[in-house]
Every structure is written in C-alpha cells, then in structure tokens.
Assembly symmetry: C2
Homo-oligomer: 329 residues x 2
C-alpha cells in the first residue's frame, strides 16, 4: 500500500461537494418546479429538496470525473467540469430514487418513522396516501429525467444500460429485496426463539446490506462512470470500489444508530435496538462493527492504490470512502 | 361514416385475444419466475398473474400489428405474428405497471379495497408493507423488462422514447396525478358544502379521467405502434384513438360501479356512490354517462373510418373500442 492513502486524507471534501451539491440541487429545483396537483408536487419537493448528504449523487459525479480525467489525460485536455452536463441529470435521478426509498421506508406500514433529516417524515406532513403516491411519482420521474435530460451526445446503448442497471439495483433483486429482508429480520431475537427465522440466517446480514444499500451506491458510481465513457475494466473497478463504500456506509449507519444523537442524525436514534433489527451492531456488537469498518476501509484504499485512474482523480474517491466510514451523521 | 363501422362488430375478439393473452401471460410467468425473497415475488406474481382483461397489452399489440400490416402491405409480406417478438416485452411491462397501480390504489390509505378480480387484494394477503414494496418492485421491473427484453432490432431512440412516455403517462403528470385528484374528490358533495372544493371543479372530471385512465391507455397504443416503426402521423392517430377508448373505458367503469354485481366485476360494486366519488355517474347521472359513451363511440368509429391503416387491421381496433364501451365487467 502506498503511503499517500495511509495518511489521513487532506482533500477538502466539503469544498468539493459544496459546488457540485449546489449544481445538483438547482437542477432538482428546476425539474421539480411546482405544478398541479400542488399537494403531490409539494410532497415530492419536500423530500427531495430536504437537504441530505447527496453522497450517491456526489459519488456518481466523482466517478464520471475520474473516468473523464483518466481517458483524456494523454490528450492533455480536461477540466473535470466538462463532464458535468453529462452526469447532472443522472445525479438528479439518483437523488429522486433515494428520496423515494426513504419516503416509502418511513411509512407506518414499514419502519414507521416520524423524523427524517430533522424534519417530520413525508406522511406526517402530507398523509399516507400522498406519501405513497409521491414516492411512486419520484421513481417514475427519475426514469424520465434520466432518459430525457441526459444529453444526446451520450451513447444511446450506454443510456439504456443505465436504465436497466438502475432497475436491477433498486428493484426486487436489489433495494426492494433488501427492505423485505430488513422487515423480515425486525424483532430478530424473538423470531429466532419462535423459529420464524434461524440464527444462520443472521449470517445473511452482509447480503442484506448489499441489497439494501450497497447495490444502489454501486449503481451510482458505475452509472456515472458509464455515462462518462468508462471501459469495461473501469466499470468493474467502480462497481467493486463503490460496493465496499456502500457496505461501509451501512455498517457506519448501524453504529450511528447506537452512538449518534437526534440532533446530528436528524432521525430518531436507537430505533434498531428498540425494534430488535438485525444489524452489524445488534448481531455482532460494536467492536465487531468497528473491526468490519476498518477492514472495509483497508480494502477500499488498497483498491484505490492499485487503480489505473488518473492520480488527480483519486483523492476525492478516497475522501468519499473515508467520509462514509467516519461520518458523524 | 362507412356502413361497416356502424354495424355491430362481427370480429371475434375473444379468439383474437385468447392466443395473444396466453403468449403474454406465459412470458409474464417466465419474467416473474419465483425467487428470493419468496414473499415479495409471490406478492408480485399474485397481482400480475391474477387474470384480468389485459386490455392495455392487447391494445399495444393490436397497434403494433396494425402498423406492421400497414407498412408492409405494399410489399405483400406480413403475417401480423411477425411483430409479436417486438412488442411482447412491452405488453408485459404494461401489465406489470397496471398491476402496480391497482395494488397501490387498493391500499388502506388509498381506496381501501378488499377485493379485486374476485380475489382478496394484495395487502389483504401479504400485508401492507409487502404490498407497497411489491408495487414498487413491479414498476421498477417493468422498466427493466422493457429495456432488456425488447429485441435489439428495435431502434434505440424509439425504445428510449417509450421509456420516457411511459414515465410521462403514469407519473406525476399522468396516472399518479389522476389518483391524487381522485382522492381529493372523494366525498365530493360534502366537500362542496364545506367549500373544500367548488362545483366548477367537477367540470374537471374529464381531465381527471384523462390523467387517471386514458393517458396510460393512450401510451399503450402509441408505444406498441412506435416499437413497430410507426410514422409520426400514425403515432398521432393512435394517441387520439386510444385516448377516446381510454375515456370511454373510464365512463363505462363508472356506469358498471352502479349497474354491475360483485360476481361479474370481481370487486365491490357501489363503492363510488358510497364514497361519494366524483364520477360521470355521480356528477351527471346515468343518462348523461350513457350519452357520453355513445358520443365517444361515434368519435372513435369516425376516426377509424378516416384512418389510413391497412383495412384488415381495423376490425380488432373497432372491437377493442366497442368492448371498452359495452363490456359487462
């Protein structure tokens, strides 16, 4: 492993993110400009424009920039901003799909959460019917944005592949499957006692995390790379790197549920424990979770050191990985 | 108007539909082959493979056949079955999206229906959480089927356009908007009294029907035509014809809610009246609804008479229009 990656990242992620986040949020604001029926569009805007880290969108953008810088390096061209118009619609679609998943997950029939990002959840404000429909609308519209706003310079075959991979990442063999497993494991200890689930199923927890969180994060990076013209080996690299990042993000989330507070998290902490959810922490303890995080960080950094990406494009990827792991909210 | 269209259709719609319905259902069964998590896939299969008229899929297929027969007529080639491989994935995607909309509409937070097609609704069997997620999964997977299973011979630009138009037809400026309006008008008389809605809003009812029902039906026909290589004027024609068919379908639905019985309908009749929904019948009465249907039938038949479609492709379109109007369930 090279020294550079072992030392703590000195990359200013906040400065990097700030400009790009603004670009994405301005575009989201434009795409979601209010129209009739007002209540529906207000509900959609409420959850998409409620802030948030925009980690998935930033990762898509960083991946696109890395591919662009790498593939144009020999020609000596290239400011990374040249690739922004190519990926901003994708970034918006990603944030809309992410918001949709949160709105539906928070519903009374699901996790029944009252707070998200420090604000009442969508159904608390707009009612359950509108929240369900706003969630549906956000996923549907994400597809529309992706195919109608991605510039015509992007290869059509690549665009179609991104639509397919989005569906695979968030559908019944991706995020939706993860949510079903998550619900199935709620009240795990009790269910093991009643033999509704078995202790060995708990070993599935990494698989569940892959479905629930990592698949969509991996999609985000791969899709950004693909629209920027990534080669097959670059795509494979981003898939691998972002899956590690995604798994780490989820383990960190499990830890934060124990150690975080309402103010930092913006949502009710301790809910996993209370609901007896199967998480890294509830199943294996905090020490094991911290060890897992450290293992994932090493794996990610090693992958980064061994990548063929243009050196100037790596610090942001390292910073995003370490942010996913060491964040406080 | 030509004599042919005025006389009752002698076209055997049941024979036409039977073969095609089987083809579509076999493919749906294959696409939705059961996998893990079982409960999710069972819930998806339950609502998609529960039978149903398959009107939207059949319309997509009839439109594709009509375009194919018309555009190959001069070359003397063409059995309409040649176009089936091109449109069957679209037909499956349409039926999955339709099933998704029914699963979500039936939820307790929405229309709170216990029966659909003579069977308990999805959430009655699988619970609310799974029903919400199965609905999400069906829409997501419909997109995947459309882009991964439509044969590579189909022009990529046309395929992307179909993805975009699907989102427009069922999203927040289509079906989802219609459902929001529908919920807003539930308890119409009482709400007019309380000045929560105004009598003039009721005039919006045709607009609501356009969003809620006709937009997706029009999409189905246009998309089938587009994948089969329709010209711009053919696309416009199918959009117009199918919107008339879709509006008629909804007025007929409103009438059936009054005149139908549980056995024929497979769902609880009289619910519109009970919930004081704003429908053609509750707002304007049964006679006005029947007059509207007759007006729509005339408009559809006139359009058909004036079309440039190959004559042999018209009887099925006429039969589908008249089925939408005169059906008993």
């Amino acid at each position: 492993m090279q020294v550079a990656s072992d030392s703590p990242s000195t990359f200013d992620l906040e400065a990097y993110s700030c400009q790009r986040r603004q670009l994405i949020e301005e575009r989201l604001d434009e795409y979601l400009s209010e129209r009739k029926p007002e209540k529906l569009w207000q509900a959609m805007r409420y959850s998409v424009l409620a802030g948030g880290k925009r980690l998935r969108a930033l990762l898509a953008m960083a991946a696109a920039e890395a591919v662009y810088l790498t593939n144009t390096a020999s020609r000596g061209v290239g400011s990374e901003s040249a690739v922004w118009p190519t990926v901003v619609p994708l970034c918006c679609a990603i944030e809309m799909v992410h918001a949709m998943s949160l709105v539906h997950d928070d519903l009374p029939a699901m996790d029944n959460d009252d707070f998200r990002r420090g604000k009442p959840t969508n159904h608390k404000v707009f009612g359950e019917a509108v929240a369900i429909l706003a969630g549906d609308a956000l996923f549907i519209m994400a597809n529309e944005i992706l195919v109608t706003k991605t510039p015509p310079t992007v290869d059509r075959e690549a665009l179609i592949k991104v639509v397919a991979e989005l569906a695979q990442a968030v559908g019944p063999e991706g995020m939706v499957a993860g949510q079903i497993y998550d619900l199935a494991f709620t009240g795990a200890a009790e269910k093991i006692e009643k033999k509704e689930i078995y202790p060995e199923d708990i070993a599935m927890i990494e698989t569940i995390h892959k479905y629930k969180t990592a698949a969509f994060i991996a999609f985000s990076a791969r899709a950004g790379a693909r629209l920027a013209g990534a080669s097959a080996s670059q795509l494979a690299w981003f898939g691998q790197f972002a899956e590690i990042l995604g798994l780490a993000f989820q383990v960190a989330d499990d830890l934060l549920d124990c150690t975080g507070n309402m103010k930092d998290l913006g949502k009710t902490p301790g809910k996993d424990q209370a609901a007896n959810k199967a998480t890294w922490v509830t199943c294996f303890g905090m020490e094991a979770a911290r060890a897992k995080l450290s293992e994932l960080e090493d794996a990610g950094l090693t992958l980064l050191d061994n990548s063929d990406l243009e050196p100037s494009s790596r610090p942001v990827l390292q910073a995003l990985l370490q942010y996913a792991i060491h964040r406080k909210s």
